[in-house]
């Protein structure tokens, strides 16, 4: 968090004071302390497990199961005390200020959930067979109140601490809307723990949580494999680029550009992910083009041109088995088609060209123009944008050209450094770039 502003301190102070107030004001009689101790330990165990195990879309928050079980088994006051335990989390990340805020926040929201539970007609205590199904309504209400209040308070603190960076704050807002769903799932497990309490006591919690911890292990393995997989994909596209140092980083940048376009036109996250991979691998087939063709200066023969035209199909051959979306494969296969139908390998035109391919084509050409090649220097962003606009409608889909230009103006574009040819490797640069829209390949006997 770094240094906190006065407003943040005020906010944290208010939350802590409110939590202290509700805890101090509640009646202390009739709380089964041993049960509270068990639930508090349980909550601490849940809170101590690191949560940030995967970067994307996998939330892990079983703490709600413990606080909501407390709501049913102990009532608002007991739930608040369970929440306070969060201060002692064994996780090493949080600063003291964060710990105090977390404890107060969980206490306050668990207390609120307990109040909602009572207001909707729930009864505090170990549920019996007769309590079902009428306990479900109040419990769902309590869970919703707990989660919503939690997110509200956390969003407040995030807003206060990251007030300057607007684009980041907005991105976070989008994520926040999606995260509560798995939390609600975990909250439901609180009811399972409470329901089994009458039969096996605290072991209920252990039996419910064991499969969840195993699931967490599997998700951690998943995250490891995912990293390995992405590293391998990068190796795959670097393997292509070893042949020509001028194109190093090209695949990564095309991938980034394609993602910018995809986000700008509002593609679904899975498709954005797929186009990211498609961008990284779009030129894999270039390995199938003989080096001497790539390095030939002067006009190409028809055969040599045909070899270049085959590279999208070679690429498809390499990666066909990888379990992508089919769309990514289609994108790689057709990324050299043109809107006017004069592209390759199939000569598709207009809407016949898959959407991914049209996106890749724009990002591909844009990166090529803004990079240095052995036969020319890099163009400026402005020149490249003008060139894209000029070719929109004939070579490129105007919608995606517009989307890329807008995204580049908003987020900027990282142009590559001018490559320095390594000594002792004189002949590793291609004499022409098949991606270059300004300097098209020259084929003998054609104009």
């Amino acid at each position: 968090m770094g240094r906190l502003s006065r407003a943040t301190w005020l906010y944290i102070g208010t939350v802590v004071a409110a939590a202290a107030f509700v805890i101090a004001r509640s009646p202390h009689q009739g709380i089964p302390w041993s049960r509270l101790a068990v639930l508090a330990v349980l909550f601490l165990a849940c809170e101590s497990v690191p949560t940030a195990i995967t970067p994307r879309r996998v939330a892990w928050s079983p703490g709600y199961a413990a606080t909501l079980a407390s709501v049913v088994l102990l009532g608002p006051f007991g739930a608040a005390l369970t929440g306070v335990v969060s201060v002692f989390s064994l996780r090493r990340g949080p600063t003291p200020a964060q710990r105090i805020f977390n404890g107060a926040m969980y206490a306050l929201t668990a207390y609120g959930a307990g109040r909602v539970f009572l207001a909707l007609g729930g009864t505090v205590g170990v549920p019996t067979g007769a309590s079902f199904p009428k306990i479900i309504g109040p419990f769902a209400g309590a869970a919703a109140a707990h989660i919503v209040a939690n997110y509200g308070l956390v969003a407040g603190v995030l807003w206060l601490t990251s007030g300057t960076d607007r684009s980041q704050a907005r991105g976070r807002g989008v994520v926040d809307l999606r995260l509560p769903l798995p939390d609600f799932g975990f909250a439901v497990f609180g009811l399972l723990i409470a329901a089994l309490w009458s039969v096996v006591g605290p072991f209920a919690a252990i039996l419910v949580l064991i499969p969840l911890y195993v699931a967490r292990w599997a998700i951690a393995q998943f995250a490891n494999q995912q990293r390995a997989y992405e590293a391998t994909l990068r190796v795959l596209c670097q393997a292509v680029e070893t042949k020509d140092f001028y194109t190093r980083g090209h695949s990564e940048r095309v991938s980034r550009g394609s993602v910018m376009i995809a986000r700008a036109i509002g593609m679904r996250p899975e498709r954005v992910e797929a186009i990211r991979f498609a961008g990284m691998l779009h030129d894999v087939g270039k390995l199938g083009v003989p080096t001497k063709v790539l390095q030939k200066t002067g006009n190409l023969t028809e055969e040599e041109y045909a070899a270049i035209q085959l590279h999208p199909l070679c690429g498809l051959e390499v990666i066909r088995e990888i379990g992508f979306l089919d769309e990514a494969l289609a994108g790689i296969m057709h990324h050299h088609e043109r809107i006017d139908g004069r592209g390759y390998p199939m000569g598709l035109a207009g809407d016949e060209i898959p959407e991914f391919a049209r996106v890749l084509a724009v990002a591909d050409a844009f990166d090529c123009m803004t990079s240095t090649r052995s036969y020319r220097g890099a163009r400026s962003l402005g020149e490249a944008i003008t060139e894209l606009r000029r070719c929109a409608g004939s070579q490129f889909d105007p919608v995606f050209v517009g989307a890329l230009i807008a995204a580049v103006e908003r987020e900027g574009w990282q142009t590559p450094d001018v490559p320095v040819p390594p000594p002792g490797e004189p002949a590793t640069a291609a004499a022409h770039d098949h991606d270059d829209p300004v300097v098209p390949l020259r084929v003998m006997g054609r104009r």
Binding site: V200, L207, A239, G323
Partner: protein
Amino acid sequence: MSVSRDRLATTGLQTRSHRAGGHGQRLLVAASGLLAVGCIAQSVATGVVAARSAIAFAALIALGELLRLNLPGDREAAPIGTACALAYALLIRVGSSPARHSAFQVVAVTAVGMALGVLPHLAVGRPARTAGMASRLLAVACTAFVFRPLAGTGNIVRHWWAALAVMTVLVTVAWLVDVVIAACTRADTLRGRLWVTFTDELRVQGLLGVAVGASALLIAFAAEAMGLVAVAVFLAPLLVTQVAFRRYAGIRATYLQTVRALARVTEIGGYVETGHADRVSRLAVAVGRELGMAEPELLELQYAALVHDIGQLSLQDPIPGGATVLVSPEDQRRIAELGAEVIQQATMLDSVAEIVRRQSDPCGGTSRCPSGPLPGTAPGEDTDAGERPARPPLSSRIIRAVNAFDDLVGSSADPARAAAVLDRLRLDTSAEYDPAVVAALGRIITRLSVVSG
């Protein structure tokens, strides 16, 4: 009659032998089939007790069999089905009425549920995997035949902690039965060593087994607390586990496909003959298993074998035919170093990079090629050939021998040629190739030619 490509294809990790099955597997399936038929007959003769719960559990077991899960190493598990079947065996009460069904009925319900659940798999052309089903049924039967008499006496139900302890022990035993049977069938079909396959099974099935056992107890107690409806609800935690494992299985498969794609890059580029990487990886894994390597090592060996020629990508001109065995030791060394450099960029493949780097070292250890600065050695690592550890890792020695074999035999199906190549490798052993690896390779080649002959 010959070492054909198809025969080689069945020796890899993705073996298809579970469909055919060895004698042991057939015996297992027959035994549990007889048990199932006997129990169903017994249950029908004596009449089904508490038909409602029997039908509910059969339905859930069928669902579990339908939602099978892929585990590493081409295994399949049915966590939900197993948990429900074990829970049915461990049921003490449903609501307030005692559960009086017999062990025979437990086995019968489980068998019927499994049979129903496997039908959709068969309908879409997936294998039935009867061996796995048989071992699951036997595990459930063990639990049922011990616990049902206890549940009938009523002694155990007086204290929940006593019931919990007995149930925990029984679930653990059931899990061990499943693991031991799986290890035996695997050792039988893949010709692995029993202890190795047993530890492999423990590693793969361990945590999932714990989750299944906990869920079985959970469901058994939940049925007591809240009646039959609760059973479906209390499957939720296990369902989360299942979803997590499914994602894991998905990314694992994709990862292997990506490594294969990396291997294919050398083929598309014309550096290596088509199919070379695939053949080397299958044969290398077979040799590794023959030499008693455990599954994680076999997986690394498979990856390393698939990408062992990736270093050739950095060459200006392809070697004729891509056969690295024919080039000078210095060039072999350089290709291996370049390959390791490429692989090292994939951060998770450090061990694989080391295997690929050392594949060019002769088995005798110190390489005879002139020492000097080599490209792509990791920082802090010695670049001097003389200072290398004496022996390359087993995986490197395997890849070295298998690569030489495949370079010289190629996709040829002539057994005489394979035999001649093996003889040549044998002559080179001790200095170039590991005698144990070459011997294992010889055994596998002989076995394949016998099988296909």
